[in-house]
């Protein structure tokens, strides 16, 4: 059966249409007159048809309507989680901002008399340290002007 052996490679890779009984050409002629090769081809075609039928028949266990309900629920849960993931950092940032704005003046209190501290704060220099310093016996008056860049400071004996 040398001829059959030569056909084997072709049978293993051939298009199913070419394997069918009425296929034309050299291979078709061989299949028409060789019962052994025909039996092998029938077996292959039968097995492939069975596989197709099997895969077509394996339906999902979950009904589509139930699957839709689950998917909607899961989607909503994800959206809720996403909202929390956005809201929590936002809330933390807001709280941080509020705490930052209400924190005590960073101007060091010790070493400066209260008048100096007030003057520095009035000039918007909190944190930068005082530019001017009142003597301990002096009183200080801070007078804002119409020009926001100019503030008058009186040191009074």
């Amino acid at each position: 059966m040398t001829d059959c052996t030569t056909q084997r490679d072709w049978i293993l890779e051939a298009d199913p249409e070419a394997l069918k009984l009425n296929a034309s050409g050299e291979h078709g002629d061989h299949l028409a007159k060789c019962p052994e090769c025909r039996a092998l081809v029938d077996e292959i075609l039968g097995a492939q048809a069975a596989l197709r039928e099997t895969l077509d028949s394996v339906a999902p266990a979950l009904d589509v309507e139930a699957a839709l309900v689950r998917a909607r629920e899961a989607r909503r849960a994800t959206q809720r989680r996403t909202r929390w993931q956005v809201a929590l950092p936002l809330a933390a940032a807001t709280l941080g901002g509020v705490l930052l704005m209400n924190r005590p003046s960073p101007v060091p209190v010790s070493g400066f008399d209260p008048a100096t501290v007030r003057a520095a704060a009035a000039l918007g220099l909190a944190g930068a340290g005082p530019l001017v310093r009142a003597e301990s016996h002096q009183r200080v008056a801070v007078l804002p002007t119409e020009n926001p860049n100019i503030t008058v400071i009186w040191f009074m004996e």
Binding site: L12, E13, E43, I44, A50, T54, S57, L62
Partner: protein
């Protein structure tokens, strides 16, 4: 319904769903639910895992349909979403070996799925399905299923699988050879004639 009719009514449903029309997305999902599950089954090799992947795909559709621009066909896009969902599932589950062994394990016990296989296709179908899932790597299974069993052209399958049509053809020949060799081995009398 022909392929082009399916495609044009898909387009209509997609447009309606993207505009937020109630029920349109659900109709689209109802239409493709079985197909998604089939693809997931072929990718995972396990009916339970396929259910899980299908569910993930549905969630992704709720989330991502708005971003579908029609640059590829809807089926290709859907297939890619299914592939990604299965990939993510594999990564989480620790993968393909488990799927194959689960399939084998299921053949030996009286679970519902093998019963379905036996009832419909008989023992031959179970054997060929077992060979399909255990002998063929995932990529070859997908190609074989899309082209040989579902009737897509090599070009259509190539678009779905993001590979060239010539690679699809090579995979198809390799899958046929592997599967048919296994079928032959199951029938020694037929194989003897060639030895």
């Amino acid at each position: 319904m022909s392929g082009s009719e399916t495609s044009s009514s898909d387009d209509l449903l997609i447009r309606r769903a993207q505009k937020g029309e109630p029920g349109a997305l659900e109709d689209l999902i109802r239409r493709h639910y079985g197909l998604i599950h089939r693809w997931a089954l072929v990718k995972t090799g396990d009916a339970d895992d396929a259910e899980d992947v299908t569910q993930r795909v549905l969630i992704q559709l709720f989330k991502k349909l708005g971003s579908f621009r029609g640059r590829s066909s809807f089926k290709s896009w859907l297939h890619r979403i299914t592939s990604n969902a299965a990939g993510e599932f594999h990564r989480r589950q620790g993968a393909r070996e488990k799927a194959v062994s689960k399939w084998d394990e299921k053949q030996g016990r009286e679970s519902a799925e093998p019963e379905v296989l036996r009832r419909i296709g008989g023992s031959e179908a179970v054997e060929v399905a077992r060979a399909f899932f255990s002998e063929l790597p995932e990529r070859l299974r997908e190609v074989f299923d899309l082209v040989e069993l579902q009737g897509y052209t090599a070009t259509e399958a190539a678009e779905m699988l993001v590979m060239s049509p010539s690679t699809v053809r090579v995979h198809l020949l390799r899958a046929r050879r592997t599967l048919r060799t296994r079928i032959m081995e199951q029938h020694p009398a037929l194989a003897e004639d060639f030895s």
